[in-house]
């Protein structure tokens, strides 16, 4: 049989795909295993956590670990709901602010000509490679000097400017036809109206992608709680979950920690699944030229 070519994006199952599946399935299994394990572990009753030999799958699932998690925090003085509230507030503020600032800047960098634009873009491009942990100390100094220690903004502002997000959104805005914007200007629209009514609706996929990235960053972030916040009651859920994981070294604590881990993981997963199509759409324009 002659080679037909065009195997990318096949419409239906062909025999040639079996080979690929044979390689991919074990790999996918390896990748999924830890997550499957965490899910199982979180629902294990006490005797299964202690079981020997250790079991991978749960046999009699219970919600014990989750109720224990709630009780645990109640006895610690600061209720779990407080940490949850902090996390939700911080996440919401950061994502909202970041999306607003990132889309505005992307619009400016892509569609408005102004002096210094290219320089700013280049600096941002270099900053994609920025390693946040490397400058923790100077960051702390900046935040302390502004007087932001213990403020909610110490959680929010350090994570608002995300160079990768700006890069991806800007690449997407580049695809909005200039003619569309010029036509709007001819009809008397100002820059803000163009941004709000024309650009934003078109770049929805890129916004969703930036949302996924920023959410992931802030939801799992521990540094801000660790270094910029002293007041226990103002730290986030991630921080609390982590102290839990560290404090409970015993086997009994494992179940509770697994439950905590699952609670942190699920929102991330759901958001990604919802936005998955938009993310893939955005990634098509992600190239560095």
């Amino acid at each position: 049989m002659a080679y037909r070519g065009r195997h990318i994006n096949p419409q239906r199952f062909e025999r040639g795909q079996i080979k690929i599946l044979l390689i991919l399935l074990p790999l996918a299994l390896f990748m999924a295993l830890p997550i499957v394990f965490i899910i199982n572990h979180a629902f294990k009753p006490m005797e299964e956590l202690f079981a020997f030999p250790p079991s991978f799958f749960v046999r009699n699932p219970t919600a014990d670990n989750f109720t224990k998690l709630l009780k645990f925090s109640r006895s610690a003085g600061i209720p779990l709901t407080r940490y949850l509230f902090n996390s939700l507030l911080v996440t919401l503020l950061t994502v909202a602010l970041s999306l607003l600032l990132t889309t505005c800047a992307s619009f400016a960098f892509s569609k408005i000509k102004f002096r210094g634009r290219n320089l700013m873009l280049q600096i941002n491009q270099i900053a994609i490679m920025f390693v946040a942990t490397a400058v923790l100390i100077p960051r702390y100094m900046v935040i302390a000097n502004i007087g932001m220690i213990d403020s909610v903004f110490a959680h929010v502002l350090p994570l608002v400017a995300m160079p990768v997000a700006l890069f991806l959104v800007k690449q997407f805005v580049d695809q909005v036809p200039d003619s569309l914007i010029e036509a709007a200007h001819l009809d008397g629209a100002n820059d803000f109206q163009v941004y709000w009514r024309i650009v934003l609706p078109i770049i929805k996929p890129a916004i969703a992608t930036a949302m996924v990235l920023v959410f992931q960053q802030v939801w799992t972030n521990m540094e801000t709680s660790n270094y910029f916040i002293n007041d226990e009651s103002r730290k986030t859920l991630t921080f609390y979950m982590n102290t839990l994981v560290n404090a409970s070294n015993g086997v009994a604590g494992q179940g509770v920690s697994a439950a905590a881990t699952l609670i942190m993981f699920i929102p991330n997963l759901i958001l990604f699944i919802i936005c998955q199509r938009s993310v893939m759409n955005t990634m098509a324009t992600s190239g560095i030229k």
Partner: protein
């Protein structure tokens, strides 16, 4: 058509002539946050790296290049453990993970849409767990007694007869950290690669088949890769960053510093000096070196990927 092109050119040129003030308005909020929380800390790190800043004495004393000289000539831990560990980690997780993510992406694109989406989600999902979340899991798996999952499995398979103390034995630490790093390295670079391959021009594949391309592998080398250079480059940058900023796993699993510095990466070294010893001037010098290394590697990736054109 020609007239249209001409008009667009002229209008573009016309707009280039003057600088639009509204551009600054739209860019300013982002730029401000960027400057305060990214640019200033980086510059501050550079300044601090030339001092003996220790968070106690103020003002810190200017010491010139002393920190850098110490790092390169007399920091034995750095030269003996941190640097080799980091290089090994970066090579396997950075370069290995990069190649793996391309191969996986390419294989996925040879499958039908639904299967691809599901598998891609599974392979990407570890990067959704970044940071602290999975520590408990690794501790259970690599637990040093018989209740550890890996020990239990290996013993029932007859590979080992005694439980191995994975997280204490220094010769296993770095491999474990590397495996965990690889496991979670299929991030947005991986997604970019999938998108790049899936959106490549299908007519080229037909043309290639006519021109004598005879299998999937040739197709990959001659048609797919040249088309997705930009995505390859983006993924490369992400891989480099990912390879150098990871240190969390080691610190959470075995603490910082790790036993015998066996899994000490450069990020751990910075934390060690900055937050445990309060030698912040020195830590800043290490930070600057890290940022430079990342830049250098990205430049190298850039050069490698664009040279082949």
């Amino acid at each position: 058509m020609a007239e249209n092109v001409k008009r667009r050119k002229r209008s573009a040129a016309g707009r280039m002539e003057r600088s639009h003030f509204s551009g600054y308005l739209f860019a300013a909020p982002y730029a401000l946050v960027f400057i305060v929380f990214i640019l200033v800390p980086v510059l501050l790190a550079v300044v601090l790296s030339f001092t003996n800043f220790d968070a106690v004495q103020w003002p810190p004393r200017w010491v010139g290049f002393l920190n850098y000289i110490t790092l390169l000539t007399s920091d034995e831990v750095f030269m003996q453990y941190v640097l080799p560990n980091t290089v090994l980690y970066a090579v396997i997780v950075g370069i290995g993970g990069y190649i793996l993510s391309f191969l996986l992406a390419w294989m996925l694109c040879n499958l039908t849409r639904t299967v691809r989406t599901v598998l891609a989600l599974i392979i990407y999902s570890p990067s959704l767990t970044t940071g602290v979340a999975m520590t408990v899991l690794w501790k259970v798996i690599f637990s040093g007694d018989q209740t550890g999952l890996l020990n239990s499995w290996l013993m029932s398979l007859g590979v080992i007869s005694e439980p191995v103390v994975w997280l204490v034995n220094t010769s296993y630490l770095l491999p474990i950290v590397i495996i965990i790093g690889l496991w979670s390295s299929m991030g947005i670079g991986f997604l970019a690669m999938i998108a790049g391959i899936a959106n490549s021009d299908e007519s080229l594949y037909e043309a290639g088949a006519i021109d004598g391309i005879s299998n999937r592998f040739q197709e990959m080398i001659y048609i797919t890769i040249p088309q997705m250079k930009p995505q390859m480059l983006f993924a490369a940058v992400m891989a480099v960053v990912n390879a150098f900023q990871n240190g969390m796993v080691s610190a959470l699993l075995v603490g910082n510093p790790s036993p015998g510095y066996a899994s000490q990466l450069i990020v751990n070294h910075i934390e060690d000096y900055g937050f445990l010893r309060y030698e912040m001037g020195y830590a800043a010098a290490v930070s600057v070196v890290l940022l430079l290394i990342v830049q250098l590697f990205s430049k190298a990736a850039n050069g490698l990927l664009t040279e082949k054109d």
